[in-house]
């Protein structure tokens, strides 16, 4: 019932991705390095620092976090842990890894030209949304604000983030805080209620925010055209599909209505429009499977899920994401590499943390469940 307030605006489909014309591509090749050659070179240099299979197998043999520190010191991470007193915590490793990633991102951001800078800003909006939701949920559960702030991703922090803790309703949050942030455009549609926050409406807000963000980001990458549109189009369409499938599965037995669910789907993606329509109508896990089965890339998704219980849906998505992001590096003269690098590196941090957790909790048998990158 909540969502019907938003009006019956039927989703307006985005224009289909332009088949990028060769002429444009050629022009891009000539001029790309003018503005973005340096940053692309830097990010490709960073990419070669991503941990290799050999590194992972070495990490897997570690007996403790001290061993991990020692091995990471010979990788591109270098001496990033050298000033940390023993004993090491998994948290510290994770924080320091993220810190390094943020440092790299900021370096690229500082050297970026106008178009690329905007592209990179788009990447940070995703983190901002996560942070906003984290704060809202945390406040709802009466967590300490400063504790929540520490958990926020540094790339998505903004000045008035902490103020969110004093807001009680979406309308309030929008008027007080979000209106000043880049998220305002996305937020103005969904932060309209003056009712207090509940778990459900925060979840809905998260998804609507994300939908608006992804649609905007997608439109921007398509506007950039050329190879960027191709590469980013594929990645973002997958992102949209992943969200659609996740939303459907997570809302199967909840109070969210089917119309409400339908409004959370992005109006682009490989599943759009038929797949999405079928998802909207799905009642059971089986129906979801049927909905996506006709799409080649997702066919194995549920099949594998049936036979291999070790591998969750999430893992499968992560794996597929890694594959797409790796492919982004095969094309030159496009911005996809920046996005892909951030995502791959995030996955790497997740892998390191996973391995570290397995080691410190003495669960070595599960260590190999990380998602290999290169």
């Amino acid at each position: 019932g909540i969502l019907s307030q938003g009006g019956n605006t039927s989703p307006v489909p985005l224009p289909p991705p332009q088949s990028s014309c060769w002429r444009r591509k050629r022009a891009e090749m000539i001029t790309f390095n003018l503005d973005d050659g340096f940053t692309e070179a830097v990010v490709r240099g960073y990419r070669s620092g991503i941990l290799s299979q050999g590194d992972y197998s070495n990490l897997g043999q570690c007996d403790g976090l001290e061993d991990m520190r020692m091995h990471l010191a010979v990788t591109d991470y270098g001496n990033f842990l050298q000033n940390e007193p023993s004993p090491l915590q998994t948290m510290t490793i994770s924080e320091k890894c993220t810190e390094k990633l943020v440092e790299e991102f900021n370096y690229i951001r500082c050297n970026a030209s106008a178009e690329l800078a905007k592209f990179l800003d788009y990447i940070t909006y995703g983190y901002m949304i996560d942070n906003v939701i984290l704060l809202l949920t945390g406040t709802l559960h009466e967590r300490d604000t400063s504790e929540l702030l520490e958990k926020c991703h540094p790339l998505g922090k903004f000045q008035s983030l902490a103020t969110l803790a004093i807001t009680t309703s979406p309308k309030d949050a929008y008027k007080l805080v979000l209106v000043d942030t880049p998220l305002a455009v996305y937020a103005q549609k969904c932060f309209t209620e003056s009712q207090d926050f509940t778990e459900l409406n925060i979840e809905v807000i998260r998804n609507t925010l994300y939908k608006a963000y992804l649609e905007d980001f997608y439109a921007y990458t398509q506007k950039l055209g050329g190879a960027t549109a191709d590469v980013m189009g594929e990645i973002l369409r997958f992102e949209a599909d992943r969200r659609a499938i996740n939303i459907t599965i997570n809302s199967l037995d909840t109070e969210l209505t089917k119309e409400g669910r339908g409004e959370l789907y992005c109006n682009f993606g490989d599943l759009y429009p038929e797949g999405v329509m079928r998802l909207e109508r799905a009642d059971t896990q089986d129906a979801v499977r049927q909905a996506v089965e006709s799409f080649g890339q997702y066919r194995e998704l549920f099949q594998e899920d049936q036979f291999n219980r070790d591998k969750s849906l999430e893992d499968w998505f992560f794996e597929y994401e890694v594959k797409l992001n790796k492919l982004a590096f095969e094309q030159q003269f496009q911005y996809g590499v920046f996005y892909a690098y951030m995502k791959l590196k995030e996955q790497e941090v997740r892998n390191i943390v996973w391995i570290a957790e397995c080691i410190s909790q003495d669960q070595k048998s599960r260590i190999n469940q990380y998602i290999p990158i290169f």
Binding site: M70, H71, N83, P85, T145, S160, T163, A165, L176
Partner: protein, 941 residues
């Protein structure tokens, strides 16, 4: 010999008792002569034996870094680093350090607590001061706060919590306020958020604090903060505003509305501040004292820890037997250092008190040993230039020995200027003289290179100065150091030493340049003085008389260009000869006969010949060289002033425009056909000879006037026999060598007589071309085929007799001796080498012309800077101010462009000539460097 070849190395194997390993390694580190091999490559860093110790060292250096940071924070510097405290065992030091760290951490913790309190008190005082003013202003305007006195309406925080209970405002209170401090950067955002949150029902006053407030989290860093007071109404707002303040990192302080209470709090705050400052000072002093105790030891500890870490790191590379009783190490060691290594091993065993003496075995191996040169200080810079191209193969001929001199020499050729050279040499000299004091520069990123190359800079400066004397240029100004020039310009003809002849009219003269000593030789009034003209050459370097002449560049270019070729060919031939040294040393006869010899023949028959032509051209006096009958080059001595031959100097005086007026010979000369007079239309032409013999004039380049002047001594018998009608004598202009070289290939076998310099030159050239071409197949084919034959023979041999390796193994050198042999690969390799060498000889010779180009550019640049600033503006204006300005500008140009950039470019080109043109003639450069385990080397890092 040690400079030409890298040191002899041997592979040693050490068996060390585990207990003695540590002490032994310490001793070996002091000696620094073994490069250990990693015997555990398959193990990752944390799986090795001594990983715990390495980790402990890491932890210790972390603690030491923390302490060093504290010392820096307190701006303490170690007074003397001499006292080493290495006697302490590592684990004791570790315990001590851990304790120390804990203590220092406690201190630092309590101190930062105090500092935070102090900052809070200071902020509170600012709030009170500023806030009181605002209240004052409000009161003076008659505003009254309806809140009763007892209701202070302020939230308390921090240390003042107990200072007075700030009760909640009574429900009736209309206006509340919150005061505090906030980083100035956040003010704007906070005010916006406040405005939105209260829908504008609030008043924010803020004032920047002029004194910077320290950031409690980051010492030494100040933050700009502002005092603010927010007035608002209502209770609900208070909670909201409170939270907003929190979220913008504002600290709130108590600020009563009434003046007496304000005063009271100010007093309280001041008292507390005074107390706190005292406590803080005491704590700080105590901490300083603590740090002072150890500050002198920290560096020594650090060094100790680093060395220990190196020791354990090396121990991790050792193999161990199953029982762990004995460690097995392998490494390379210079044969010459074996004794000191043995000593160190003995010392190590004694020191550790181990029962078993360490065993040292020399192992025979086919592995290539590392390359190690024990360079003198002077050669180190050059050696590193060579190493940068590629580390010499083991015991290969070391080009650095030559480069020590040729490098600065080639640099000097390009950078030749006395002034610039001396400046550079001075820089080098200062660095060399004060090398001990300046040793810290070696660590510097920018000056490190300069310091490490100090001997090169000195040598480069000296050679540039020397070339400067040859080019005769001091900041592009020619000098008359070795006597004055024999020439003077037309503008100076009034000078006494210039030739000043009657009838010379400077106004109509086209030629500005005359020889000064011509006076003695020729004076139309006095007639011949009987003296021989002394064609004296300037004793050293370029004649300063060339300055300001129109054809200076022609002459200088011609010299520099030829010199570049000569220097280049000599260096390349030297390079090929280095190959000979290698073949002799490695007893590689095959390469000597079928690579070195054809290469030598090829380069010398073309370019060596060219160099000989250049030298011949330079040493020939072209004034006396004539071509007889279009077929023969003859030399006629110049004896102008001797009565029997000539009375008119060869350089027909240009000051006669009318030959009829030449005193004494006018009529005779006038009778000659027009073309026989070399001064057609009064134009000055160089090199015309008019000689007199038995009252007859002999004019160069023409038929003899009469038959009876033909002298057999000049012209040979044939001409004399055939009679004067058939004899013509042409003045030979110096041949163009470029033309000669082209025609050598285009018109094989014939040399135009005007280009001829050596009798029988045509035949010689045919011979040279033939052997040059013949040497190419010799270079290409025999070597691979002979290698193939040898390999087959050896295989055959091995099949029959496995034990005997004598015949085939030794002669094969680096190539065919053992292992796989692929004829196709060998052939392709040799083909590439041949093509590269043959084409390289041509292109490399051309490449050496950069010597000329760079030195031309240098000379022209410095001349332009000098002329266009000091001479043309400064001196012309004749004002001291202008002179000062222009000289300043000129100095800047000289330093920036010439000494800075131009020297770098000359360096770069000298580098290229060595790396490419010289070293590719013989250098393999595929060795690897000897990196011994040495404390001295580690300490430098």
């Amino acid at each position: 010999m040690s400079q030409f070849r890298s040191e002899e190395m041997c592979l040693v194997q050490l068996f060390i008792q585990s207990e003695a390993a540590h002490a032994t390694l310490q001793e070996l580190g002091k000696v620094g002569s073994i490069q250990f091999k990693d015997l555990n490559t398959e193990k990752s860093a944390f799986q090795r034996l001594f990983v715990q110790d390495v980790r402990r060292c890491d932890d210790m250096s972390r603690i030491l870094r923390v302490i060093q940071g504290m010392c820096q924070q307190e701006k303490m510097k170690p007074r003397d680093t001499g006292g080493e405290d290495t006697a302490m065992p590592l684990h004791e030091l570790h315990d001590k350090l851990i304790e120390l760290e804990k203590e220092m951490k406690d201190h630092t913790g309590s101190m930062s607590q105090l500092i935070r309190q102090k900052i809070e008190l200071e902020e509170h005082r600012h709030v009170l001061r500023e806030g009181a003013q605002w209240f004052q202003q409000a009161y003076s305007r008659g505003v009254s706060f309806t809140a009763p006195q007892s209701d202070e309406g302020t939230e308390m925080s921090g240390v003042l919590e107990e200072g007075g209970a700030g009760g909640q405002p009574r429900p009736g209170s209309v206006l509340g306020h919150i005061a505090g401090c906030i980083p100035t950067a956040n003010i704007h955002d906070m005010s916006q958020t406040l405005f939105r949150a209260t829908r504008g029902n609030m008043l924010l006053k803020h004032e920047e604090i002029t004194a910077p407030i320290m950031d409690p989290t980051k010492p030494d860093e100040a933050v700009q903060k502002s005092v603010f007071v927010i007035f608002f109404s209502g209770d609900r707002s208070r909670v909201k505003i409170d939270k907003i303040c929190d979220s913008y990192a504002a600290t709130k302080y108590r600020l009563p509305e009434q003046v007496p209470q304000q005063d009271e709090i100010v007093k309280q705050v001041d008292d507390r501040l005074k107390d706190l400052t005292m406590v803080l000072d005491k704590t700080r002093d105590y901490r300083r004292g603590k740090l002072e105790e150890i500050v002198n030891k920290v560096d020594a500890w650090m060094l100790h820890v680093q060395r220990e870490k190196a020791v354990f790191h090396t121990l991790n590379q050792f193999n161990y037997d199953v029982t762990h009783k004995c460690l097995i190490a392998e490494g390379w060691c210079p044969t010459a250092d074996m004794d000191s290594v043995r000593d160190a091993l003995r010392q190590g065993t004694i020191r550790s008190g181990a029962t078993v003496q360490t065993v040292l075995n020399v192992v025979k191996t086919r592995e290539t040993p590392p390359t190690f040169f024990r360079n003198a200080k002077f050669a180190q810079g050059t050696q590193s230039i060579v190493d940068a191209y590629g580390m010499a193969r083991y015991q290969e001929f070391n080009p650095a020995v030559f480069s020590c001199i040729t490098f600065p020499f080639l640099f000097g050729v390009m950078f030749g200027d006395v002034g610039h050279g001396i400046m550079m040499a001075l820089v080098g000299l200062l660095l060399v003289l004060y090398e001990k004091k300046l040793a810290y520069l070696a660590q510097d990123e920018m000056f490190g290179t300069l310091y490490k190359g100090r001997y090169n800079i000195l040598a480069m400066g000296i050679f540039a100065t020397y070339s400067g004397f040859i080019y005769n240029e001091l900041f592009a100004v020619p000098m008359e150091i070795f006597g004055s020039t024999a020439w003077c310009s037309g503008e100076m003809v009034d000078d006494s030493h210039c030739m000043h002849t009657k009838g010379y009219d400077p106004a109509t003269s086209l030629q500005k340049w005359v020889r000064t000593n011509m006076d003695d030789a020729w004076d139309p009034d006095m007639g011949s003085t009987g003296k021989e003209v002394t064609w004296e050459v300037y004793p050293f370097g370029n004649d300063p008389g060339w300055a300001h002449t129109a054809n200076k560049l022609n002459s200088v270019n011609s010299f520099k260009m030829k010199f570049a070729i000569v220097a280049g060919v000599v260096q390349m031939v030297a390079g090929v000869c280095c190959k000979l040294m290698n073949t002799l040393y490695f007893k590689d006869d095959l390469t000597m006969y079928f690579v070195y010899i054809p290469e030598m023949i090829f380069i010398n028959s073309i370019f060596g010949y060219l160099v000989i032509l250049i030298l011949l051209k330079w040493t020939t006096n072209w004034d006396t060289t004539y071509i007889l009958n279009n077929e023969q080059v003859v030399t006629i001595p110049q004896r102008y002033c001797k009565d029997d031959l000539s009375n008119l100097p060869c350089w027909t005086p240009p000051y006669w425009y009318n030959r009829a007026t030449v005193p004494g010979y006018g009529a005779q000369l006038a009778a000659l056909p027009e073309h026989m007079w070399c001064m057609g239309n009064g134009a000055a032409t160089a090199g015309c000879a008019v000689m007199k013999h038995n009252d007859q004039l002999l004019v160069e380049g023409n038929v003899f006037v009469t038959g009876n002047i033909i002298l057999e001594e000049f012209t040979g018998k044939k001409c004399k026999e055939m009679g004067s009608a058939h004899c013509s004598l042409w003045k030979q202009s110096p041949p163009s060598l470029l033309d000669s070289l082209i025609k050598m290939f285009m018109e094989i076998g014939s040399v135009p007589v005007e280009n001829q310099m050596i009798p029988g030159q045509g035949g010689l050239q045919v011979f040279l071309i033939l052997i040059a071409f013949a040497s190419v197949p010799v270079l290409l084919f025999p070597k691979p085929y002979i290698l193939k034959a040898r390999h087959e023979a050896m295989q055959h041999h091995q099949l029959h007799d496995d034990d005997d390796h004598g015949a085939g193994g030794g002669g094969g050198g680096g190539h065919g001796g053992h292992g796989e042999f692929d004829f196709g690969e060998e052939m392709v390799h040799q083909m590439i080498h041949t093509i590269e060498y043959v084409l390289g000889c041509i292109s490399n010779t051309a490449s050496y012309l950069r010597l000329w180009a760079l030195s031309l550019a240098h000379a022209q640049l410095s001349e332009v800077f000098w002329e266009k600033t000091v001479v043309e503006i400064g001196l012309e204006s004749a004002s001291p101010l202008m002179l000062f300005v222009t000289v300043t500008a000129w100095s800047c140009f000289t330093f920036g462009v010439l000494m800075g950039m131009e020297s770098l470019s000359a360096f770069l080109h000298a580098l290229r000539l060595h790396w490419v043109e010289f070293m590719n003639k013989f250098y393999h450069g595929d060795g690897y460097k000897f990196m011994p385990f040495s404390f001295d080397a580690k300490d430098e890092d």
